[in-house]
Symmetry: C2
Subunit: 232 residues, 2 copies
């Protein structure tokens, strides 16, 4: 097993992931939220880059319009990016169009992978169980506005910690694993001085933070197929 | 004091460092080697992107031609990228032209900073003493061939650990500091599974690794001025 971890989607540029099982990680909050939406009965999630594109597709598919800019719900959208909004009542049987600042773009950047999953702390173990026979794994951290993010790195480290020992890991995989092992006892304390955690806290999303940072709480595993994410 | 740490020079793209004291870090080995060359009496070091450019400038300045591709000395060059080559006898009073795969390019990428220093583990304390009154610090890890490198991240963390407590650190600064604190007791063990450490070991450069990873062994502090690096 070979494991590479990319601190940011922009760094996929020179890398070949066409034979890789890729995991896109946007822990706070897109990949957690999309996983929850599907777990609660959403039919599928379409990641879209722009607000205009999202509106067009949502209209043509009679889908729910979901997403954020600057962490907040986009005017005219049905839902924002809080996983707590995506209750069974809200999403059951519905298609969802997602446009978010980091996660949706990371998914689109990693589309060239052999297989693409969404990863978060909540579905960490389900994901690791699915990947344990894989030859080549690429973990893609979404980051925040083009900057490295601690929470996605800790999630990458958590996934690696639950996988069999790899024959090769790149330097960033070693770093992510070490950081997860260091901080796994208190992820909230580790993240409390970091940028996006603080921003979401200031926006009043403490409930989201508690929800998103719960490890191994979900068996739901979204995978990309024909431009849509569905559970596998 | 605000501290930002960039995992790779490519990530400087969207960032403004024009008011920053920047530190370029290529621990294995360019910034260690250039620091050593100046410490041992070299007059100044010119970082140059290409082999052809290096040859031209070296000729016009009667300078020593120094650098590597794939870690090895470039054919026709005076010296490679091993700090142990840069003895007082070899370099005293000489100008040196450096072209290396990662460090030289990182220096050129960070030239827009208010002030640019070279950092490595050996001059860590000298550097931190120089920077302790700074308002805005940008640590720029050179990485290896466009990939995150553990050794540069540990060096960034070592520098942060020796600075006064910052009022703001970005996520990657937090990660670098945590990794340094975790591994400072045995940097060799932490680096032994990583890519560039192993590559240099396989090339027979164990002496370089021992030299480059020695903390606080040098007071030499190179800074960029008019395209040349000289001691300050």
């Amino acid at each position: 097993m070979r494991i590479r971890t990319f601190p940011l989607p922009a760094l996929l540029g020179g890398a070949d992931i066409s034979s890789s099982r890729a995991v896109v990680i946007d822990t706070l909050r897109m990949t957690t939220t999309a996983t929850t939406a599907l777990e609660n009965g959403g039919e599928c999630v379409f990641p879209v880059a722009t607000v205009e594109g999202a509106k067009e597709i949502a209209h043509s598919l009679s889908a729910l319009l979901c997403g954020e800019r600057d962490g907040l719900k986009i005017p005219g959208f049905d839902f924002g990016n809080s996983p707590l909004e995506y209750t069974p009542k809200a999403v059951r049987g519905r298609k969802l169009i997602f446009t978010t600042t980091n996660g949706s773009l990371a998914i689109l950047a990693a589309k060239g992978a052999d297989r693409l999953y969404l990863g978060c702390l909540r579905n960490r173990l389900a994901l690791a169980n699915r990947l344990r026979e894989s030859v080549d794994i690429a973990l893609v951290c979404a980051g925040t506005l083009g900057q490295f993010s601690m929470e996605d790195t800790l999630t990458a480290g958590a996934i690696i910690a639950a996988l069999p020992r790899a024959s090769y890991m790149d330097d960033f995989s070693h770093a992510a694993l070490a950081l997860f092992r260091l901080h796994q006892g208190n992820v909230h304390a580790a993240l409390s001085p970091t940028a996006h955690y603080r921003y979401l806290q200031q926006c009043g999303f403490q409930g989201d933070l508690d929800y998103c940072l719960r490890l191994d709480a979900s068996d739901a595993l979204p995978a990309l197929s024909n431009d849509a994410l569905c559970l596998v």
